[in-house]
Every structure is written in structure tokens, then in C-alpha cells.
């Protein structure tokens, strides 16, 4: 089965891009390919002049550790680790020595300095996503992928989290690629890409 077909696009550094489309249109698959989480059956994906599709899994993992941050709809915090340890995780994977201090600062940036030693189960949905934002930006990634980042939050919390995400993005000058159903969210991005049944149906600047 072909999920994505004839999709060709380039995202310049610093751009914010929203990927839209109906369920099953191939949004998440496109995101997975862009982030090197999955391999295309044919075609190429390049990240910072490196051909990701030529790397093996561990090679792509190393690339992600260096350049890429993530946010997910269901937060994906590791339940065994505290908020601080969750934020330290990508720093440690990238081999940073100052992981603890940097993670603490990142949590302070999202207003969670009082919750550093809490476990995910002790945090509210909004707090979890703020931890996830701290975790996403803490390594100073060149590129941030977000999969329905407000999908599991109520409207008000979603709005606050969104604001935080874009503020942080501006501060760090990160390239942001997000998958969303939320039109308001798409409006905030520089560019929107729409998928329909695995094909690029629209690609324009806002």
C-alpha cells in the first residue's frame, strides 16, 4: 500500500510549517519520515545536508540526538522518571555534561521550577505538555517536530501551551514542523502544507 506518493518539499531553517489533512491522509507518516523515525520505500530525506535515508537506524538516532526535538499529542513522558529526569534525557543522550543544570533552567523557562521532582502521574495534562516543551527545547535543536501538540488538552490549556511553544520557538529560532487538525494553530505558522490521500494537495505561505 502506498501511503505517501510524489511528495517533494524543502523546509528552510527557521521556518514554521503546519502539516494538515484528514485522518489517514499520511500526516504522521510524513512527520515520521522527516524525523527519520521511519524509512521510505523509495525516495530520499535530507537533514542539514545529510542524507538521512542513507543512514542506518543508529545513525539516524545519533542525528536526532544532535539536531532534533519532539512533542507528542500524548506527551510521552517516561513514567519512571521525574520531570527533571525526563528533561535531562535528551541532553544525556547527546552526551551533555551539564544536563542537570540545563534541564532545571529549561523547566524554569516553562514555569515549572516547583515541579522538578514530580513524576508524570503527579502532573496535570498542561503541566505534562510544558515538561514536554522544556524537553523539546532543552537541547537547542535546529528542528522541532510536534505531533498534534494540543490534541489532548482542553481549549484554554491548549491555547496557553501553544503560546508558550511559539514564544520558545521564536527565542530559539528553531525550525518547527507540526502536524495538526487545528486551523488556528496552522494560522500561526509561516507555511501550511496540506495532504490528501498521500499526495501534496496544497503548499502555501500564510
Amino acid at each position: 500500500m502506498t501511503i505517501l506518493d510524489d511528495v517533494s518539499l524543502a523546509i528552510p531553517a527557521g521556518q514554521t510549517v503546519a502539516i494538515l489533512g484528514a485522518s489517514g491522509a499520511g500526516k504522521s507518516t510524513l512527520l515520521a519520515l522527516l524525523a527519520g523515525l521511519d524509512e521510505p520505500s523509495s525516495g530520499q530525506v535530507w537533514l542539514n545536508d545529510i542524507e538521512m535515508t542513507a543512514l542506518d537506524e543508529d545513525g539516524r538516532a545519533a542525528l536526532r540526538a544532535e539536531h532534533v526535538g519532539f512533542m507528542f499529542q500524548s506527551f510521552h513522558l517516561l513514567p519512571a522518571l521525574t520531570a527533571l529526569e525526563n528533561v535531562m534525557l535528551p541532553l544525556e543522550l547527546a552526551g551533555r555534561r551539564d544536563a542537570r543544570a540545563a534541564a532545571r533552567a529549561a523547566l524554569a523557562d516553562v514555569g515549572l521550577e516547583a515541579r522538578v521532582s514530580h513524576y508524570p502521574r503527579q502532573l496535570s495534562g498542561g503541566e505534562k505538555q510544558r515538561v514536554a516543551i522544556a524537553r523539546a527545547f532543552v537541547t537547542g535543536p535546529a528542528l522541532l517536530f510536534a505531533d498534534e501538540p494540543t490534541g489532548n488538552l482542553d481549549a484554554r490549556t491548549g491555547e496557553r501551551v501553544m503560546k508558550l511553544l511559539f514564544d520558545m520557538n521564536r527565542q530559539h529560532a528553531t525550525t518547527l514542523v507540526l502536524v495538526t487538525h487545528d486551523e488556528a494553530l496552522a494560522q500561526r505558522c509561516d507555511r501550511r502544507i496540506e495532504l490528501d490521500a498521500g499526495r501534496l494537495s496544497d503548499d502555501r505561505m500564510n
Binding site: 504522521s28 542525528l63 510521552h76 522518571l81 544525556e92 542537570r100
Partner: protein
């Protein structure tokens, strides 16, 4: 669709998808460990039952320390009964310069009256039945003797003053005991050779047996006639008495081994409970769908029950097959101790396997499966509805009920049951508390040593309940193995080290008074310091404070034994070196001859104190004395020691022999051989070889027990598998997430390894600590030694745990590491 058919289909589907694998393996371990013991003890039981009619080699057996009264034999022959005689005693036999303690059995023609002797013409050749006994000048020896002396059939053997020829290998005699250890190999010879051998003289420690056989009615009448005439020291045994002793020992061994295997059953049951909970959780949606499509609660219930019944039958039968195979291992390990050929096992233990399987499933898997019937059908629309929960009281109640019932069935003794249940509960509480402490401790060290390390340790803490269960499960199995290996050796070595370097290593007994000067001279000649010779008078206690012992109210079994068998008395003007005075005076200066000093322990069990009197009979003559002191005796000094010491005086006139113990270095053993050559009736008992044999027996027995506890470790592995299986989905997700953030496979794998190695370390620490505590208690209470735990123990326990759990856990979870990171987007 009928519930049975549906149950069959879902089971076979779940089997194929690996859903019930762990559950089945846990059941197999439980049933296998229990039935292995059952099959083995069934074989021994059958051998005992089969031999019970032969165990006396007669219908009636009269034992005594003196030659059988000829009048008894004449009477038996007059009544048309067959008779034979057996004289049994230990003696050192030799070949060239090699010597070995043997169990001599000198017999008359006709022996055995019941059952048959089996012999072989050479080592490792087929055995056959014979009707005769060894002719004069020949002996038939057990293979153990030939092996230890390095002899073959046809070799000469020095037995006392005689040189006899070994003409056959003795394979089986009816009155050898099943289930007991014979420390010395049997040497069968002709009773007519005994006088020339010079081995037996008045006062020698020997057992005479007269065997009688004939028609039942005549035997009964003769037994009645004989029991009216029995004198002190004569003991009549019929088949019932003999069987009772053997079956009693077998029964105790069976209960002990079954209890040991119940530890494995319990652990496996924990794994069953974990697996059943997961099984139920994973079937919530399909049950909701079934109900949505119109299946009534009754149908869901029936399906659940059928599934359990089918599992019970399958695992019961397959587990019994494993037990049947495993019992060969136990039989092989215990072959030397059990002796003889064991018949093949009967089918009954397989039934026990089925019952065990059903019981474990009922107690540990039924509650969550039953709960499935109350799944709400609306779950098909609202996945967020929580699944029905089993209340802790129901789950624990069912499990405890099954465990107590199983224990009751093994122990068959209410008081013992209460003690064991209390003990298990206490032990579990201590282990769980220790496990909890260790798990908490591991959380506090997860600080800054890298992501894999932190992630692994964090997992142990988050899954606290499962972690504690695994630590305790493995800790228990390891602890028992450490106790049986390292601690056992430590204690034995400690005991041996506590003996002085020159502790006596030989007992010399049966020295006649007229031989004493020559024996002393011999030692002097050979440059060996002559030891102290103690006189030994064989007597029987007849009166306690003037009351005949038959009427005395003595319940303590040791004390009872002292009253019913011949006692060894001695006399000494001074308190022997290895004795200390506890109360009274060791011989008042002005008294003469009638004072007694008694060992404090035996005084207590007989209820005797200073001033009480004891009456004896020595060779038919009365002898009495008054207790004027009590002594503590260091029995492990290996000096000859006595419960009852007389003041020298009247007792000097009674028949006596001398006994001593002496340290003879290995390379000076020639003096002992010379002693036996010159004085054939003197027996030299080599303590070192006896200790070596006892040790060999203990090694074998403990290997067998270790084998049984091997199942416990296996059960620990199954608990681990169940825990891994229960967390597999979580682990997949976490592994995918870690890899999304850029962790290499090796990092995730290191996390997994850290987790299980740390779990194993904790289990090993628990095991080593437990083994040290138990070893210390044993050392103090049983061996009265100061115990310094072997450092090896403290290293070996954690190391073994880390290796075992690390390996098993990593192998069980390694597929999880390969989960592709893209799954995070599809979760």
C-alpha cells in the same frame, strides 16, 4: 456455540500467539517439582513395601548382645520352625597395608530364611540368586569394599587372625535396609569361621540374631512363648516393627522434600497470578465485544472455567511427565544412600500433579478470570472505562486458602501446620520488608551516572511491587542454594578447624584386660605415646531410685533408649580431661565404691539429681550406686566418654574391656595394623574415614536437596518472565520513545541490563544476608561455633544473582529494544 468449544478455540489461539506461555510454564514448574518428589518417594515406598516381608530375612528375629540361648533354638526346631543365626559387628579388615572398616555378618546355613541373597561372580557382572551361604574360608564382600581396597574377586582378605578369600561380590541381602546409609560395606562370612578369627571374645560389642520362620500360626504361638521368657537385653522383632521404622524414616524424608518443593510451587503460583492478571486484562475488550454481541454472563463464566480446567489438565499431565523425568535425577543422586534397585514409579503421583495444577489455578488464576464476566459491554464505545477489578481480599483469600490446604495435605499435622504457616508468613514478611528496603535504596543511588543507568534503576523503583516480588523470589532460591553449598561447607570446616590438630583420629575398642599390658608395650615399642585406656563395663539400667525401669515414667526418647539398650559404664579415680564438674563432688574422700557421676543432659532427661540411686545389672549380677556429682562432657573431644562413671571399687570385679582413642599420623598407621595383627579381637575404628564417609553422604543428600531447590530457581525465572511479560507493552513504548530522542539501541539495551543486573544484585544481597543470618544461628545453636561468614558468600550471592537475573531478564526483554521509534507516533 457451546462454551467448551469456544474455550478450546480461544486457548489454542492464545497458545499460538504466546499469550498463555508464561502461565503454562509456571504451572509446569509447580507440577514438575512436586511430582518429581512424589514419583521418587513412590519408588522408594514401593521398594520398602516389597521388601517389608523380607526385611528381617525371617518371620521373627531375636536380637541380643549375648549368644542366643540354645534353648530357644531347640524349642523352635521342636516346633518345626526353620532357624538360622547371624552375628554382626564392625571390624577392620585388611589387605597388605590397606585396611578398611567393614560390617561383618557371620551367618549359618539356611540364612536368609525369607528372601534370597544375590551375588555376582565379579565386579560389574550380572547378579544372580544363591541358596547357600559362604563356605568356611571364603567371604562375599560388597563392591564398596573391593573398590576401597582396590581388590578383585579371588583376592585374600585378612579378617581378624584369618586370611579368607573373597569369592563373590555381595549385591543384595534381604535384611539390608532401604532408605538408610550403611557406613561400612558388608562382608558376609560363615559363622563357623568366627572362633578361629579371634574376633569375638566375651565383652566384644557384637549383635547376635536368631532367625525363625515357619507357618503363620506356629510363628505366632512361638512368639508368644518366647516373649514370656525374654530376658534383659533380648529384643524380639516381627515384620510389623521392622516396617514401621523404615516407613517412618521414608515418611519424614518425603515430607521434608515435599515441603522443599512447595517453595517452588508457591513461587510458580505467584507467576501464575501475574500471568493470569495480564491474561484477564488483555481479554477485557474481547469479552466486552462478546457481550455486546449478545453473550450472557453465564457464557463468559463458563468459557473462563473451561479454559482453566483445560489448562489444569494439560499442565497437570505435561508437568507430571517432567516430574517423572526429573525423579531419575534424584534417584541417581541418592542411589548410594537408598541402595538396591528401585521399582519403576506408579501412576498415582500424576494424579497429584493434576490436583496441584487445578489447585494452583483455582487459588491464583481463578479470581481475575471470574471477574471478566462483569466487564461492561459499553466498553466497546468507551475505552476509557476501567476494567473490573478483583478485590485484594478475594485474590489473597483464594491464594492463602489454597496454600494452607496444600501445606495441610503435606504435613497432616495441625500443630505443625500452624508452625509452618506462621513461619512462612514471618519469613515472607521479613523478606518482603528487606526487599522493599533494598528496592528503595536502589532508587537513591540513581543520580548522575548516565541515562541508561538512571533509566534502569528508575524502572526498578516504579514497578516497586513487581521488583520486590522478583527480588524475594530469586533471593529465596539463591539463599537456599548458598546455605546448602557455601554455608554448609563453612560450618563443617569450622567444626573441623575447631578440633585440635592432634585430636584423636582412631578409636580402639574391645581390648581385653589381659591384653592391656601388651597393647601399651606395643605403643611404647613403636615410639607412640600410649593413650589413656578407659575400662568399659556393659550394663543395663534396672532401677531408678529403687523403681524398676519398666514402671518408670520416662518419655524422652534418648532417655528411653538408654533404658532399653545396654549402657556403657566406666570408672575412674579422677575426673577425665574432657569433663567438667557441674554439681556435687567427684568422689568424696572417705567413701568407697558406690558413688556415681552422671552426665548432666541425661540426668535431666531421666529426671535424676544428686542423691538419687541407680540400679544396674552386669552380666546377670546387680550393681547399684548413688549419684554424687553431675558432669558436662565435651563429646567432640573424641575422648572415650560415658554417661555414667562409677567410683572405682566394687565395679572393678565385673567383666570389662578397655577402650581408648588416639591420634596416629597417617604415615604411622603401621602400629595400628600391627596391633590388629597381634590382637585380632581388638577393633580399630578410623574416625577420619568415618567422617569422610559421613561427609560424602551429606554431600550426596545435599546435592539432592539442591536439585529440588533447582526448581525454586526455575520458579524464580518464571516469576521474572511473568513480570517482563506484564510490562512488555510499557517497555516497547518506552524503548521507542528513548530511540525517538536519539538513543542508540545499545543505550536502551544498557538500561535493560542495568535494571535486571541491579535486580539480581538486590536478590543476591538478600540471599547472602539471609544465608549469613541462618548460618550464624545454626553455628551458635546447633554447632556451638563462632561463625565467620566466608567472604566468598558475600561476593558469590550478589554475583550469582546479578548474572542469573541479568541474563534471564535481558534475554526476555531484548526484543523490546528493537521496537522501531516510529511507534511513538502510533501509540
Amino acid at each position: 456455540m457451546p462454551a467448551l468449544l469456544y474455550a478450546l478455540r480461544t486457548l489454542s489461539r492464545d497458545w499460538k500467539s504466546g499469550e498463555i506461555g508464561v502461565l503454562v510454564v509456571a504451572l509446569l514448574v509447580a507440577v514438575g517439582s512436586l511430582t518429581a518428589i512424589a514419583f521418587f518417594t513412590d519408588r522408594v515406598g514401593q521398594a520398602v513395601a516389597r521388601q517389608a516381608t523380607e526385611v528381617l530375612a525371617a518371620d521373627l528375629r531375636l536380637r541380643s548382645a549375648e549368644p542366643t540361648n540354645p534353648a530357644y533354638l531347640a524349642e523352635a526346631e521342636a516346633r518345626g520352625l526353620a532357624t538360622a543365626r547371624v552375628l554382626a559387628f564392625p571390624s577392620v579388615v585388611s589387605h597388605g597395608d590397606d585396611s578398611q572398616l567393614g560390617a561383618i555378618r557371620a551367618v549359618t546355613a539356611g540364612y536368609p530364611l525369607r528372601g534370597t541373597l544375590r551375588v555376582a561372580n565379579d565386579l560389574f557382572t550380572p547378579a544372580y540368586a544363591v541358596e547357600e551361604v559362604p563356605p568356611r574360608g571364603e567371604v562375599w564382600a560388597e563392591s564398596g569394599l573391593l573398590a576401597r581396597l582396590g581388590l578383585e574377586v579371588g583376592a585374600p582378605l585378612q579378617v581378624g587372625a584369618l586370611e579368607l578369600t573373597i569369592t563373590r561380590v555381595l549385591e543384595y541381602r534381604p535384611d539390608q535396609t532401604v532408605g538408610f546409609v550403611a557406613l561400612a560395606p558388608t562382608i558376609l562370612m560363615n559363622l563357623d569361621d568366627i572362633p578361629d578369627s579371634g574376633l569375638v571374645v566375651p565383652g566384644s560389642r557384637v549383635t547376635w540374631s536368631a532367625l525363625f520362620a515357619g507357618a503363620d500360626a506356629e510363628i505366632t504361638r512361638f512368639a508368644a512363648w518366647l516373649s514370656e521368657r525374654l530376658e534383659e537385653g533380648e529384643r524380639l522383632q516381627d515384620i510389623g516393627d521392622a516396617g514401621e521404622q523404615v516407613t517412618g524414616a521414608i515418611d519424614r524424608a518425603q515430607r521434608f522434600l515435599t515441603l522443599a518443593s512447595l517453595v517452588s510451587v508457591l513461587l510458580a503460583a505467584v507467576a501464575v497470578a501475574m500471568a493470569a492478571r495480564r491474561y484477564a486484562a488483555r481479554h477485557v475488550d474481547s469479552v466486552a465485544l462478546m457481550k455486546c454481541l449478545g453473550a450472557p454472563q453465564r457464557f463468559v463464566l463458563q468459557v473462563g472455567l473451561w479454559q482453566l480446567a483445560l489448562l489444569a489438565i494439560l499442565a497437570g499431565l505435561a508437568g507430571s511427565a517432567i516430574g517423572w523425568l526429573a525423579q531419575f535425577g534424584i534417584a541417581w543422586l541418592l542411589a548410594e544412600l537408598v541402595g538396591g534397585q528401585l521399582p519403576p514409579p506408579g501412576p498415582l503421583p500424576a494424579l497429584m500433579g493434576l490436583v496441584t495444577s487445578l489447585a494452583v489455578l483455582t487459588g491464583f488464576a481463578l479470581p481475575p478470570i471470574l471477574q471478566l464476566r462483569s466487564v461492561a459491554p459499553v466498553r466497546v464505545l468507551r475505552r476509557d472505562l476501567p476494567p473490573p477489578r478483583v478485590t485484594a481480599a478475594v485474590a489473597a483469600g483464594a491464594a492463602i486458602a489454597v496454600v494452607v490446604l496444600m501445606l495441610a495435605w503435606v504435613l497432616r499435622d495441625f500443630r505443625l501446620l500452624a508452625v509452618v504457616v506462621g513461619g512462612i508468613a514471618g519469613l515472607l514478611a521479613v523478606l518482603l520488608a528487606a526487599g522493599w528496603g533494598l528496592v528503595r535504596l536502589s532508587g537513591s543511588v540513581r543520580g548522575g551516572a548516565g541515562v541508561a543507568w538512571r533509566y534502569g534503576l528508575a524502572n526498578i523503583n516504579r514497578r516497586g511491587g513487581e521488583s520486590i516480588t522478583q527480588v524475594v523470589a530469586f533471593g529465596l532460591g539463591l539463599m537456599v542454594l548458598l546455605l546448602l553449598t557455601v554455608v554448609r561447607n563453612d560450618l563443617l570446616d569450622g567444626w573441623r578447624a575447631s578440633l585440635p590438630e592432634d585430636a584423636p583420629n582412631n578409636f580402639i575398642i574391645n581390648i581385653q584386660p589381659e591384653e592391656l599390658p601388651d597393647v601399651e608395650a606395643l605403643f611404647a615399642e613403636q615410639g607412640v605415646t600410649p593413650p589413656v585406656f578407659s575400662p568399659l563395663v556393659r550394663a543395663r539400667i534396672t532401677h531408678l531410685n529403687g523403681v524398676p525401669v519398666r514402671e518408670a515414667d520416662v518419655t524422652d526418647p534418648d532417655a528411653r533408649g538408654l533404658l532399653t539398650r545396654e549402657a556403657n559404664l566406666s570408672f575412674s579415680p579422677v575426673l577425665p580431661a574432657s569433663n567438667t564438674l557441674v554439681s556435687g563432688r567427684f568422689w568424696a574422700p572417705d567413701s568407697r565404691g558406690e558413688e556415681i557421676s552422671i552426665e548432666e543432659g541425661i540426668a535431666e532427661s531421666l529426671g535424676l539429681s544428686l542423691g538419687d540411686t541407680l540400679g544396674f545389672t552386669v552380666a546377670g549380677e546387680p550393681l547399684a550406686g548413688r549419684i554424687t556429682s553431675t558432669r558436662a562432657v565435651a563429646w567432640d573431644s573424641f575422648d572415650p566418654n560415658f554417661f555414667v562413671l562409677f567410683q572405682p571399687g566394687e565395679i572393678d570385679e565385673f567383666p570389662k574391656t578397655y577402650i581408648t582413642s588416639i591420634y596416629v599420623p597417617r604415615d604411622e598407621r603401621g602400629v595400628l595394623l600391627e596391633l590388629v595383627r597381634r590382637h585380632p579381637s581388638v577393633s580399630v575404628i578410623d574416625l577420619e574415614s568415618i567422617i569422610a564417609q559421613v561427609r560424602q553422604v551429606m554431600d550426596r543428600a545435599s546435592l539432592a536437596v539442591q536439585y529440588v531447590f533447582g526448581f525454586t530457581l526455575l520458579a524464580g525465572v518464571v516469576v521474572l518472565l511473568a513480570a517482563v511479560q506484564a510490562t512488555r507493552d510499557e517497555r516497547r513504548y518506552e524503548s521507542a520513545l528513548l530511540r525517538t530522542f536519539g538513543a542508540r539501541r545499545s543505550v536502551v539495551l544498557r538500561g535493560v541490563i542495568t535494571e535486571f543486573v541491579a535486580l539480581g544484585l538486590l536478590a543476591g544481597v538478600l540471599a547472602a544476608a539471609g544465608a549469613v543470618v541462618v548460618g550464624d544461628v545454626l553455628a551458635r545453636q546447633v554447632f556451638r561455633l563462632a561463625y565467620a561468614p566466608d567472604p566468598l558468600l558475600l561476593v558469590a550471592g550478589p554475583l550469582l544473582g546479578a548474572l542469573l537475573v541479568g541474563l534471564a531478564g535481558t534475554l526476555a526483554t531484548r526484543s523490546v529494544v528493537r521496537t522501531p521509534p516510529v511507534r511513538t507516533l502510533r501509540a
